[in-house]
């Protein structure tokens, strides 16, 4: 336990140390403040944005799209992936489809999606959902297929009925892969969301970054970059915590 705490402390301390070095470098004139402002000036810009309520509004817009898009992609993704992993016929039928659609960078479909779903939240949510969907399908399928055959043998030998086979063997067996897959999906959905907000949005962190760049408000731009980074870190931590709770037999 002590070691875990030390590791946690280190994960917090090392970015703080980096910030201090950055500030000192800025003060010393080692970094060009026109491109890379100092942490303090970014903090001031962030404070202003927060006070005006603008920041909360952008974060809210991004989070809403992220969560809705992620859930819309992950839930059917987990389901389809499970069925594909368990049933060779479904797998044979869907494999070519997934293999063909997966490599398309989903952001490339954004203009098309905007035609279909309009300029509002719809198109952004859908582009996130699509990125998550295929990644999740592939991860879950592999997770189920990787389950050692011996577990199915044991289950069969002890007369496990299908619902219990799913709940006691397949689901826990595939859970580590499922959670790892979801973590990757979440990272990708952040990337796609910011990309979509750059070009086709009037709100959201991506919009904040892009519009600040257009008006040369570099500090604000950095506020956006930092907020999106924190969002990414927090979501990863959240899924890590889920893993710790849901996969206790893997804890180390």
């Amino acid at each position: 336990m002590k070691r875990v705490n030390q590791e946690r402390a280190l994960t917090i301390l090392s970015p703080v140390a980096a910030l201090i070095v950055w500030q000192l470098a800025s003060n010393a004139g080692l970094v060009n403040q026109r491109y890379v402002p100092s942490p303090l000036s970014i903090a001031v810009a962030g404070w202003d944005l927060a006070l005006s309520g603008e920041l909360a509004q952008h974060i809210g817009a991004s989070l809403r799209r992220l969560v809705v898009g992620f859930v819309l992609g992950a839930v059917p993704g987990v389901f389809i992936g499970m069925v594909m992993g368990l049933n060779r016929w479904v797998r044979a039928a869907l494999d070519p489809l997934v293999a063909a659609l997966y490599p398309i960078p989903k952001i490339a479909l954004l203009p098309l999606l905007m035609l279909v779903f309009g300029l509002g939240d719809g198109s952004k949510v859908v582009v996130v959902a699509m990125s998550v969907l295929f990644l999740t399908i592939i991860n879950i399928t592999v997770g189920v297929l990787q389950l050692d055959k011996i577990y199915f043998d044991v289950a069969r030998n002890y007369g496990t009925p299908w619902p219990k086979l799913f709940r006691r063997v397949i689901l826990p067996g595939a859970l580590p892969t499922i959670l790892a897959g979801l973590r990757i999906s979440l990272g990708v959905s952040l990337v796609v969301l910011v990309g979509a907000e750059f070009v086709a949005s009037q709100s959201g962190i991506g919009y904040l970054i892009w519009s600040s760049w257009q008006t040369l408000m570099v500090e604000q731009m950095f506020v956006g970059i930092i907020v999106i980074t924190i969002l990414g870190v927090l979501s990863t931590l959240f899924l890590h915590e889920c893993e710790r709770l849901l996969v206790p037999w893997r804890r180390d």
């Binding site: 044991v154 069969r156 067996g173 037999w249």
Partner: protein, 263 residues
């Protein structure tokens, strides 16, 4: 009364060009309540026989007929797998109680039934641990307990003591004999240890190298109840061991030649 009748069993794996004939013309009748040990060179099809009897594999040809048991509520068979196959996501108690859970027995009662078995295998202290906390030998013991708890008519055991140290092996051999003597179970027991087969079995089936057939069946008529440790001191024990080794020796050499030719 015959419990398991194996008739002209054959099994091949793979397609025409990469075909492995694992079993060929395997005939064996096992009496109700009999303890039969199978020895044979590695890769001769011992596990395959067991898996077919367990219904986990379908034979290419031939049949396995199992007489229905008189008492209800017992599963027909439980297998102790060579690679133990504990569920990593279940604690030791849950693994051992798996058959009870499948029968719909409640959590508290499962625990009550399982704890004496955990004591028998010397792992009650570890009941809340996950398998990854256990050594190889401990895992093997848990998988034994899992099969005992299921209380089946037929125990199918695939080298169950292979991963154990000598002392634990001896204790569990004795324990297995006690459990078997006090029950009407039929046991089919695979081992590489000729001494183990002699100490435990009513009969020893010696198999040929691949494709596996029966080379010889040796009856072992040491009186029951047996003590494994005392039996070893019996002069007839050594003589039997030697004669069975002589039967096996050629087959082991053939198996090794086959393996080298294949690679």
């Amino acid at each position: 009364m015959i419990k398991i009748a194996i008739d002209k069993l054959a099994k091949s794996f793979g397609d025409d060009d990469r075909r492995t004939v694992a079993l060929h013309d395997f005939d064996l009748s096992i009496d109700d309540g009999e303890f039969v040990c199978i020895v044979g060179p590695s890769g001769c099809g011992k596990t395959t026989v067991l898996r077919i009897v367990a219904g986990l594999e379908t034979p290419t040809s031939g049949t396995v007929t199992i007489a229905p048991g008189s008492a209800t509520g017992h599963p027909q068979n439980a297998m102790v797998f060579q690679e133990h196959g504990l569920f990593p996501w279940m604690t030791v108690v849950d693994n051992v109680a798996y058959s009870l859970e499948m029968r719909g027995i409640g959590k508290r009662e499962r625990r009550e039934q399982v704890m004496p078995f955990l004591e028998k295998i010397g792992l009650s202290r570890f009941h809340k641990h996950y398998p990854r906390d256990l050594s190889g030998g401990m895992r093997q013991r848990v998988s034994l307990a899992r099969a005992f708890v299921a209380d089946p008519e037929i125990l199918l055991m695939d080298e169950p003591f292979a991963a154990l140290d000598a002392q634990n092996k001896l204790i569990l051999q004795e324990e297995l004999l006690r459990i078997w003597e006090g029950s009407a179970k039929t046991v089919l027991f695979i081992t590489h240890g000729i001494d183990e087969a002699i100490a435990l079995g009513d009969r020893i089936v010696v198999m040929t190298a691949q494709p596996g057939r029966i080379k010889e069946i040796v009856p072992i008529d040491f009186p029951r109840p047996r003590s494994v440790a005392e039996l070893r001191a019996d002069p007839r024990f050594g003589a039997l061991e030697l004669s069975i080794w002589r039967m096996l020796e050629d087959e082991v050499r053939t198996a090794r030649r086959q393996e080298e030719a294949a690679s």
